[in-house]
Amino acid sequence: MNFNLRDWGASLWEKSNKWQRLAIGTSIVALLFAVPLLEKTFFNTPSTPFVSVLFYPIGIYVLMALGLNVVVGKSGLLDLGYVAFYAVGAYTAGILSMHFKLNTWEILPIGILLAMFSGLILGAAVLRLRGDYLAIVTLGFGEIIRITALNSASVGGANGISGIPNPPTTFGLKFDLENQVTYYWVILVLIIITISIIRGLSVRRPGRAWESIRQDEDVAELMGVNTYKYKLWAFVFGASVGGAAGVLFASKAMFIAPNIFNYNISILILAFVVFGGMGNIWGVVAGAVLLSYIPERIRFISDMRMLIFGLLLIIMMNLRPDGMLPRKKREKIKQAGASHE
């Protein structure tokens, strides 16, 4: 009955052979790299340069939404403190670049590792908790990180860290205020890598384990899935993506302060995931792009954009409770459930 973009896309992909897929893939990627050309068109953002909007908020938020999607969408673990890993990445970039003079590309793997490590610590402690308790403890963890940064003079306290260097010129690509498009390309590459890793994992053992944990944790455990281990994996994976986003954000913004990493970011990212359609990568990407782009586009009523954002969330959830592009499997389960009732 109703047109389902996700199914249409999936069937198009399934019908194509290897070469067609390659052609579709490359043309989509090429189009994505060319998006900055839309700057002078209708899509231009009024108060912030279009190219910089493409990197932040859109690119950063898409990346983080993808990471959180693995935790919330795929494994069903409600994490309300995702911003903590973003903060860990950003502060790693801030500290290492200021004290050890490392450049962004050297910091990136370290930031990811540190974020993974904090994910491991937090996860090991709290993943035995059930749904809503997990939510509040992760929320608390996010606040603990922020308030600790706020009260620690060694990382600048409330003033944060400023003067974080931009990435060095790499392969002839300059990273500075005049050449912002390079940041977009870098985050695009990272997003593509993340998507291919998630897609790879989804069809293999971890992905199946996450899916079974999401559907019914007890049954999964009975069937011999080491639920604790795979939940921890999901958490650590999500953390690594958040950390990467944090490092890139810090090196572009050149300035970080504790209050950038507040609880609203976690909620915003969660909203992207649910709005787009939990568990479905393309839905999540679409949700993150739309919801982070719209407030920038409608800045002429700039003061009211968050108000409209809130309204949009309510309306959307009422119209399409499973998000814009719900996952295919969900749809079937729901239909079966509806006929059962």
């Binding site: 919330v72 409600l78 402690a125 709290v126 035995r128 908790l129 059930r130 809503d132 308790y133 939510a135 509040i136 403890v137 929320l139 608390g140 963890f141 606040e143 603990i144 308030i147 600790t148 706020l150 009260n151 609880y263 909620i267 969660l270 909203a271 649910v274 709005f275 939990m278 003061d303 009211m304 968050m306 108000l307 954002f309 809130g310 309204l311 949009l312 969330l313 309510i314 959830m317 009422n318 409770p321 499973d322 729901k334 459930g337």
Partner: protein, 317 residues
Amino acid sequence: MDFSVLTDQFASLTIDGVALGFIYVLIALGYTMVYGVLRLINFANSEVFMLGSFATILVATQIFNKNLESDPLTGFKLVYTMLAMLLGAMIVSGLVSVLIEIVAYRRLRSRTSNRLTSLISAIGVSIFLAEGVRILTSSAPMGTPRILEKNTLFTVFGADVRVDTFLVIIFAIILLIILDSFVNKTRLGKGIRAVSMDYDTSRLMGINLNKIISTTFLIGGLGTGAASFFYITVYEQTRFSIGFELGLAAFTAAVLGGIGNIRGAFAGGIALGLIEMYSSAVFGTQWRSITAFVILVLVLLFKPNGIFGESLQQARV
């Protein structure tokens, strides 16, 4: 770390902590009642508190024409002004809470079993209300005219008990007793307990779910509204972001005691109020909210269902 402040002012910290704790208890009702019945976090409750606090001040300034320079009232006039402010806050908060249920939860409840969906629409309501008030007030804090003169009433163990803290504690206890007997003695309360015990079976038994759920939101809203009045009486100021700050703490309190359990909310709220006061005396106020979270994490690690365990039906224990 400095323990001298804690030991010197232990009694007065305790009194302040208990008063703050009762405010948390009343806000926590909005979370805990809804959780008990629907098993979902009522994220928009923080904004119910925020609107209640503005309603309290607006009753004083618009209806009774008080301004920040007005002298405190005395006698009969004081009593009915404060009662009107309390009622105003409770009515506004109660109505908003019921409206939130209709707008954010009701349609979703019948259409999807996915609890995250309701969570997001509640977050939407929360953002909408907070942003609406932010725009209307231009982000400025709003102070209240001083209605009640804050004299010291009596002294215990060298600590002054002020009129406002005393009133908060007494009123909160009365409200909690009323609520407890409502849930345990009346027919509607029985319905609430039944739904929290088994959602599906209670529907089969002919309980009008919409009515029960609306009542639950109403009670949660009334409690939260009362909390906002007490908060204004003690702290005398509000702003659009107040909901987030206190809502988070109250939610922590609810989880600490065991969410879904009224007596748990009571224990958790008082415990949190005391912890916050003592820890800010020892570590400094800037670490106040962290200690609450650290304690919460520790409690949950060793007692994963909170101090008193979950759900309303155990409230009789």
